[in-house]
């Protein structure tokens, strides 16, 4: 079965640079979530989109922005990168269900290292 695709899988950037992470959800999934997992930490919710509209917002820095496109893929844009942004960034997708029973399926993550 098709899974969530994230690109790139690894990314190395310098401080103050910008980065764009991409997420392609499971086919027919209409909801995308972004999570950040620092070293030795649990994943922290950043932002989510349903049907191309922002659905919820968590602890996402103002330097970050994201959007969901008409084909349901999503991009997380990160500017003015800081050393503390080094983390594993997960994208997860789900299918919106009327009964709210959707399960989130995670991609393999993008490992971002800021030097």
């Amino acid at each position: 079965a098709a899974g969530v695709i994230q690109s790139p899988r690894h990314l190395i950037k310098e401080k103050r640079e910008t980065a764009t992470l991409k997420c392609y959800p499971i086919p027919r999934h209409d909801t995308v979530y972004w999570y950040q997992q620092g070293p030795g930490q649990d994943p922290q919710f950043l932002i989510s989109f349903y049907e191309k509209m922002q659905s919820d917002k968590g602890s996402i820095p103002d330097r970050f922005s994201a959007q969901q496109f008409s084909d349901y893929h999503s991009e997380l844009n990160m500017s003015s990168l800081e050393l503390g942004d080094s983390a594993l960034y997960f994208c997860a997708s789900s299918l919106h269900l009327a009964g709210n029973g959707e399960t989130q399926y995670f991609g393999p993550g993008t490992r971002l290292l800021v030097l």
Partner: protein
């Protein structure tokens, strides 16, 4: 705010034995979902099992089962016939019943399996 607590940072089990991982949560909601995710060294987040709060029956997936105690707000994971491939970080996660709602994770527990 909803919180998820995994008080045991590490556990160890002998291959072929049974182990139980503990999780408690705090919520004022009546409609919610609980999950266990496995994160092996590859750091992929893999869904192990999920439980709907409105269901009294405990979820089971092959060697994995849960003990869901709604009144006590407890959600433990039992792994039977432990295998070397079960060695990983295990995260307990909570999701409110609202559509497209985020996951809130516990701090995780590292499970090692002794051959």
């Amino acid at each position: 705010a909803q919180t998820v607590t995994q008080s045991q940072p590490e556990m160890s089990v002998q291959e072929a034995e049974t182990v139980t991982l503990s999780c408690t949560y705090d919520t004022s909601e009546s409609d919610y979902y609980l999950f266990w995710y496995k994160q092996p060294p590859s750091r992929q987040m893999i869904l192990v099992i999920r439980q709907e709060a409105y269901k009294q029956q405990n979820a089971t997936e092959n060697r994995f089962s849960v003990n869901f105690q709604k009144a006590a707000k407890s959600f433990s994971l039992k792994i039977s016939d432990s295998q070397l491939g079960d060695a990983a970080m295990y995260f307990c996660a909570y999701r409110w019943g609202g559509a497209n709602s985020k996951l809130t994770f516990g701090k995780g527990i590292t499970l090692s399996v002794r051959p």
